[in-house]
């Protein structure tokens, strides 16, 4: 028997979960469509694009995969990049774990597999309000997100060839724009904004420096690791050294 949902019927809970997903659907469609279209325009086959969509199911990592693969990066570099860009899920997943005590293993499997930034955000709001995350509600949320992402990508693939060349440049920029958005939203969500800015500056500086010695992909990863470590060092020193209020 899975975690109790009070007196809410599974179907109702499922429907509520789907509804909870609604505000994020437009975003999924925009980025999913661009993702599919860019994949095809860049030369990936439909099957490759859909494999990324269905199995990887992570927008940031998906776009990063495009960049790295097309630049001829080594497998290890690609996997490391995907790992680093998705490592934040460990934190999110750990946070959500507390709401799944008493659930069955297969239920947790589904929740885990379909976790995204957006569904995490919605789930956290629900968890704060209701105190629990019912299986069917969360499944409604996750399934909607997943299906919309897959369909949006597929439609993007189909229409890719119809997009005029001039538009495709703008479409390619949607990738960068998405990352700009994620960076900014992450900044707003942080309790240590000054350190986030420092992290960004250090990362860009290290990346530029790295370009003098290695290729962009390696420099990207080294800049990430280096900047993160430096900022953490500054942060730890500052926070430990300052007077406790």
């Amino acid at each position: 028997m899975s975690a109790p949902e009070g007196t809410v019927l599974p179907l109702t809970a499922f429907k509520n979960g789907v509804i909870a997903c609604a505000p994020t659907i437009l975003g999924y469609w925009c980025i999913g469509f661009a993702c599919g279209a860019i994949g095809i325009i860049s030369g990936f086959s439909l099957s490759a694009e859909m494999a990324l969509t269905v199995f990887l199911y992570a927008g940031g990592a998906h776009f990063l995969f495009y960049s790295l693969w097309l630049a001829g990066a080594e497998t290890l570099a690609i996997v490391t990049g995907v790992f680093l860009i998705n490592v934040r899920y460990v934190l999110m997943s750990s946070y959500l774990a507390r709401f799944f005590k008493g659930t069955l293993l297969w239920e947790r499997f589904i929740h885990g597999a379909l976790l995204t930034d957006e569904t995490f955000g919605v789930a956290v709001q629900q968890a704060r309000e209701k105190g629990v995350l019912g299986f069917w509600w969360f499944f409604g949320l996750n399934l909607s997100a997943y299906l919309n992402w897959v369909i949006a990508n597929f439609v993007g693939c189909l229409f890719a060839r119809l997009i005029p060349v001039q538009f495709s440049q703008g479409l390619m920029f949607s990738l960068t724009a998405m990352f700009i958005g994620l960076l900014t939203l992450n900044y707003f969500g942080s309790s240590y904004k000054k350190y986030e800015i420092l992290a960004v500056i250090l990362s860009c500086a290290l990346f530029s420096l790295g370009l003098l010695f290695v290729n962009a992909n390696v420099s990207l990863l080294l800049a990430t690791l280096g900047a993160t470590s430096l900022v953490t060092a500054f942060f730890t020193k500052r926070v430990q050294g300052s007077a406790v209020l």
Partner: protein
């Protein structure tokens, strides 16, 4: 699709799945040591900044639409600061390219 590509995709997918699912599967409400937690918390900023830097530098080197690129980047940041909407940010960025194509 080559089998190599498929292999890499599946490895990446497995890695992503493990990152998402292991904590929930094991109910690991793990309180990582503060140092690790802090380190992980700064990853988003650094990796995304590095990705953006990589994209911009690549475009500046290889393409003639540097002005469009730079202005689209700046506009996207501004729009995101104001709207806090990922969707609007992407639309705005793409809009700059559309405007550049239309007017130039």
């Amino acid at each position: 699709m080559s089998s190599h590509l498929l292999t890499v995709i599946m490895i990446c997918s497995l890695v992503s799945f493990l990152l998402r699912a292991v904590p929930i599967l094991t109910l690991a409400n793990r309180n990582f040591p503060p140092l690790v937690q802090n380190w992980l918390s700064f990853i988003p900023s650094t990796i995304i900044a590095a990705i953006i830097a990589s994209e911009v530098s690549h475009h500046l080197q290889n393409r003639t639409d540097a002005l469009t690129m730079v202005s689209a980047t700046i506009i996207s940041f501004i729009v995101c600061f104001i709207s806090r909407s990922l969707f609007l940010t992407v639309i705005a960025g793409m809009g700059i390219y559309l405007a550049a194509w239309y007017f130039l």
